[in-house]
Subunit: 425 residues, 4 copies
Amino acid sequence: MATRLDTAFPDALHALFRRVRGLSEALAAPLSDADASVQSMEDASPAKWHLAHTTWFFETFVLRDHVANYRLYDERWPFLFNSYYEAEGPRHARPMRGMLTRPSLDEIRAWRAHVDAAVDVALPGLPDAVRTLVELGCHHEQQHQELLQTDILSLFALNPLAPAMWRAERDPPAPPPAPIRWIEGAHGIVEIGRNMPVREGEFAFDCEAPRHPALLRRHALADRPVTNSEWRAFIDDGGYERAEHWLSDGWAWVRREGIEAPLHWRRVDGDWADFALDGLHPVRPAAPVSHISFYEADAFARWAGARLPTEAEWESAAAAVDSASGNQLDQAGPVRPRAAAAGTGLRQMFGDVWQWTGSAYLPYPGFRAAAGAVGEYNGKFMSGQCVLRGASCATPRGHSRASYRNFFYPHQRWQFAGVRLAKDL
Amino acid sequence: MATRLDTAFPDALHALFRRVRGLSEALAAPLSDADASVQSMEDASPAKWHLAHTTWFFETFVLRDHVANYRLYDERWPFLFNSYYEAEGPRHARPMRGMLTRPSLDEIRAWRAHVDAAVDVALPGLPDAVRTLVELGCHHEQQHQELLQTDILSLFALNPLAPAMWRAERDPPAPPPAPIRWIEGAHGIVEIGRNMPVREGEFAFDCEAPRHPALLRRHALADRPVTNSEWRAFIDDGGYERAEHWLSDGWAWVRREGIEAPLHWRRVDGDWADFALDGLHPVRPAAPVSHISFYEADAFARWAGARLPTEAEWESAAAAVDSASGNQLDQAGPVRPRAAAAGTGLRQMFGDVWQWTGSAYLPYPGFRAAAGAVGEYNGKFMSGQCVLRGASCATPRGHSRASYRNFFYPHQRWQFAGVRLAKDL
Amino acid sequence: MATRLDTAFPDALHALFRRVRGLSEALAAPLSDADASVQSMEDASPAKWHLAHTTWFFETFVLRDHVANYRLYDERWPFLFNSYYEAEGPRHARPMRGMLTRPSLDEIRAWRAHVDAAVDVALPGLPDAVRTLVELGCHHEQQHQELLQTDILSLFALNPLAPAMWRAERDPPAPPPAPIRWIEGAHGIVEIGRNMPVREGEFAFDCEAPRHPALLRRHALADRPVTNSEWRAFIDDGGYERAEHWLSDGWAWVRREGIEAPLHWRRVDGDWADFALDGLHPVRPAAPVSHISFYEADAFARWAGARLPTEAEWESAAAAVDSASGNQLDQAGPVRPRAAAAGTGLRQMFGDVWQWTGSAYLPYPGFRAAAGAVGEYNGKFMSGQCVLRGASCATPRGHSRASYRNFFYPHQRWQFAGVRLAKDL
Amino acid sequence: MATRLDTAFPDALHALFRRVRGLSEALAAPLSDADASVQSMEDASPAKWHLAHTTWFFETFVLRDHVANYRLYDERWPFLFNSYYEAEGPRHARPMRGMLTRPSLDEIRAWRAHVDAAVDVALPGLPDAVRTLVELGCHHEQQHQELLQTDILSLFALNPLAPAMWRAERDPPAPPPAPIRWIEGAHGIVEIGRNMPVREGEFAFDCEAPRHPALLRRHALADRPVTNSEWRAFIDDGGYERAEHWLSDGWAWVRREGIEAPLHWRRVDGDWADFALDGLHPVRPAAPVSHISFYEADAFARWAGARLPTEAEWESAAAAVDSASGNQLDQAGPVRPRAAAAGTGLRQMFGDVWQWTGSAYLPYPGFRAAAGAVGEYNGKFMSGQCVLRGASCATPRGHSRASYRNFFYPHQRWQFAGVRLAKDL
């Protein structure tokens, strides 16, 4: 969570701030007040809550704490829109976020405008330490932009009318993907992670630090993620019905929840369709499978005679790939994973789908949480979750990097999460 | 659920239809799209759902079934807005009603207008049997008008901002209520219930029939409901903390849920306040206590050395009271129970608060459910629920009558439900 | 819960005490220490707990309270073996009764012997008021004798080995039962219930009082309970799969629990078998169906075009039947419902199976709970439960009477509970 | 799960088999039939089930599969006593293990004798591959010996009588422990884990393989585990009440479960007592704290300004310690953690308490599960669990080794689990 922006170019941060704030509003533009207020499940939050919480972050940690005479827009709202920062005091219970029909979406938009204006005024005069908080707030909001999209998707998926948030041109039919090719990775000692503070113009969360050596065996990564057509072969081979492919916890989850396909797949007229933000469409065979849990990714890998990569293997390979490339989010609009472009090397490392690794989300050797309330950002979640790497079609471009550690519980699958296979050599 | 309207005065039904449909929309007028879409708990429904479900009733049982060439406004919506009519096929799960952010509130309003226009055209030509269904639909919608208000109250009560749906003048302070006076009732054989078909211009649900004799012992009813100040005495005497006052199931409920006061009471600055549709206000001592469960009503009665009335005792006494009198709903606007007017006889039998009886909701001797899907209206709920009698401040005036049997589970208390004591003589 | 024993014949009570205490031990004789210690579900209790709790009743309410210098056998045990008497202070949680592997079954037997000896010594000198408590303790223990049998049955039913508690001769095949004949009952005002104190040599619980008038319509009762073969016809006709037969709560229960037959029925080699205390046997067609819930009884009655009797109808008819007749429990050994004997009048009113009524378990007009801790015996359970009448094959002979009100929740079915139909005339 | 026993000394395995089988029976000797049959919670199993399941292992994988003409002792029992081997077919549901009052403890003992006799006869003639299964069965049974003790402890802890399984001399008061001293470990590349097959006379489970390099930073381990007196300082400092010490999942667990001390600690007369297999005794200050969860261990470490060791750090240091040393189980009898002996190096690495590490239980690089049903032994549990290292006072001596990977979910704490601190240098 530390960074260094070149103080000779203050506009870069300011530009980032404006771009990020604007994108959030563009993403929410197609939503009605009701769409933005309802919470689909405890894991998800209403879109309005995302818009408000990210605003609370700037108002609290920047304006309230560091701008003289700033007065809270509404003194009652911090209680509503704090997420989980214990150091910031009591807060509204997470499962009740969807009960907040007031303040309205428009009132939240007005709050956003108010806070944005105050930051605009204050930013040029803020010291570096506070600029770092502004930058953190931007990256924090980018995370919530991705969640806003996946949370709305999970809400619309519960509506039998299958509403589309965006209208999209249909993809032209893609040729069947070439078989997976295996790309050998580095072995021996490699360095992963980031040292703090990061270099000028860069950013990393505290959990990505410190940079440290890791030992890799001889191994290879698949050149692309697993596709929907490959996933259908897994289904057709009884993949969800045979215990031997599954971790014990995963098998219990499959049985208990009646899982038989990725999250948003539905049987329509005897075939599989996939519900996305642009509505319900036939599953596209050549696109990467998405909305799968760690348990499913792991079972598929075992069925395929492979395994999941470790996060060190993934990062080591990704270091040579442009993290701003690929199918990531440039502007509000329909998002969906796309078929791999032709090519020979590692493709789709960034964009399309996050990739589950076999690594538990644990502190790196020598990890220290950031000081203050923002120190609750990452470290306290380091149990029971699994690391995903890369970026998805819903990740704002510019937000991703090789060292990025995304993390979810092994049963969660409402993100654009897929799988890239690995194997020992 | 049978009635007889004088066919010489067809306008009465048409006028009722228009009045009822208009009131629903007036009640929802202050709500935002979000307010109208969120479901506060499984027991409650979104306001939009009430507006839609009552419309579905007319479209299905009147227009679809009895108007030639009527085409459904949207073929996908009946699945969404059927409540519990098994004979009408599968339907959207009740706990998921709050996930339906689409269709929007405005779309539902447009549907209402469409259906209203079609009924307006068709009604003059409908045969008596179908006019009976229209009338049933009106009374059905009046029930949902009361639920719409209590469901919104339960939703707003979950919002820490305590939003008010209506602004209201504050009541002038009421003098302390006179002590309860006991009014002796009839004893021996009395007749209760209704014969079907009811007389011209009247209405009753099937569960109110048939009229039948009931045996009453010597008893008396309190001249008015229990007040908030009396309820505070119960609290202050440890009423919620002493098992001996409570039914076993009630005591388990109190312990499990941490119940210590009526539903919408909150401690504010060391005193009790009461959240209502006009916001959070100090508890008004002389007004009837409201939002209590059967368990609480029963415990209070035992603590007070009294008991709950039976429904036959209540109805026998109420037969002499004008059921259109009292504090009932005349138009959209703030509602709340009010202090009893001065007087000497039975007061507040209708209006202010429903009154829990000690009677289980069971079929009357000789009961037969109505034929067809509407036969699911009442009979299938005849287990595990308790009867309430009277009417509340949220009951549309004209909807109540002495024979009316309202019913809820013994722990439910989100209705305007209070208690009138009875005792043996 | 009041009675009058002729003080000129003190031995009758003493004889009852000894007979009851001996029967409990005989019933538990085939059980291992483990059999007697495990709790099959929260509704049930371990057999050892029944043996201990009934002993606690005598030790507490007779010996401790009324016998000078009596010292508790073990001061720690009352906490363990109080069931639900709040006035007797805190107690071991009901769902944890099965965790008490100590004291052992043999230790409980020793306690029983100790308490029995103390009562034997004290009884001749006890005043009438305390003799009443001894008598109450005997009837209380008879209730637990029935529960001991049904609780063990529910435990053994969970064991895939299907262990038999008793070995029994197989019944000779019974001829198919004659069709139901309808026996008209009294109508108009009848008297039911009991006045307290009851006559010499009789007994009743407080909930059976007071005797009071009840109004009956013209009706008839079936001459015998519904048989297993009739129940199979219900199953074969899709009875468990068609919502229109069911109360709403019942239908939800059927769907949620996957109910498709009476509790202990299992499909074996394509046919139905019935697990009982003498093991797993083919369902006997002519025997009364047993182990059904109120919901099932009610659904069957609706399917059959009939209804359940009210408790007043049942008691009015039963008053002319010898309550000590029929297939009730005379000694420890295999119990099972048996085919109706040939005959023309009401048969199997007592014995074989309890009969669900359509009446809620509510206080009779003028009911008052007994004073003291034993006042918690009945009155506090008067919500949410349904009345059963008669007696079963597991009811100790002498314990049953026409006025007896047994009660369970509508979903419970681990008792020997069946159904006798009624209809209006 | 592979090993090599010197075929020149076949008696070693036979001796191991006899010793292990005898110890299980000695451990169960103080138990009544009821003690051995009841299941305290879903995580635990009845003692009788442990005795049976370990016997099923030998009967199935050795006798049934590899001894000609062996007939199952009872064909119905494998269904009851298979634990989780999907490849062995359906099995009795884990939460229902405590319902099996039959077969009795004595019947299980007879089965044990039968199987032991058959193995005694067969063992001299078995080929190496099957001898390996016998050896695996012995180590498997040793694991269940430890569980048998902790499961009985969790059962007896639920009994308000606090029964003691064993009577024990009280420890003489121990002097207060010396403050922790930090022992620096190796850093750089170390080797951990085991190669398969292991050397003659040794044993390892499949999850301990393969031996592989690991990278260690500069670090130190505490010379002894955290003591009860240190844990009391954590409690007294509000350790259980301050969110900042806790992982997010841990904090939710503490709040939800009302955790305020180690599992078997109880407040008695204003002080802490500790329930153990020899009854309830005052907490012994100098003994290692036990029965804590991973969440508690982690919170304590954070509070103490330290961290948990990684499993590689722990194993690297333990390789120099005699794994058969320390307070481990030699014979049936009272077990409890004891104060550290005086000394200067690493103490209590083996014995007293297992030590939570900060490592997730994941496959080692290159891990392959064993073939066949026994391949379900370890690999399928590699998600969501944490590694513990060492051995406890309940671990049979000879069963522990530096490479041993024990694992439990982070909230589980019914094992003898404690914490040894680590820190970076």
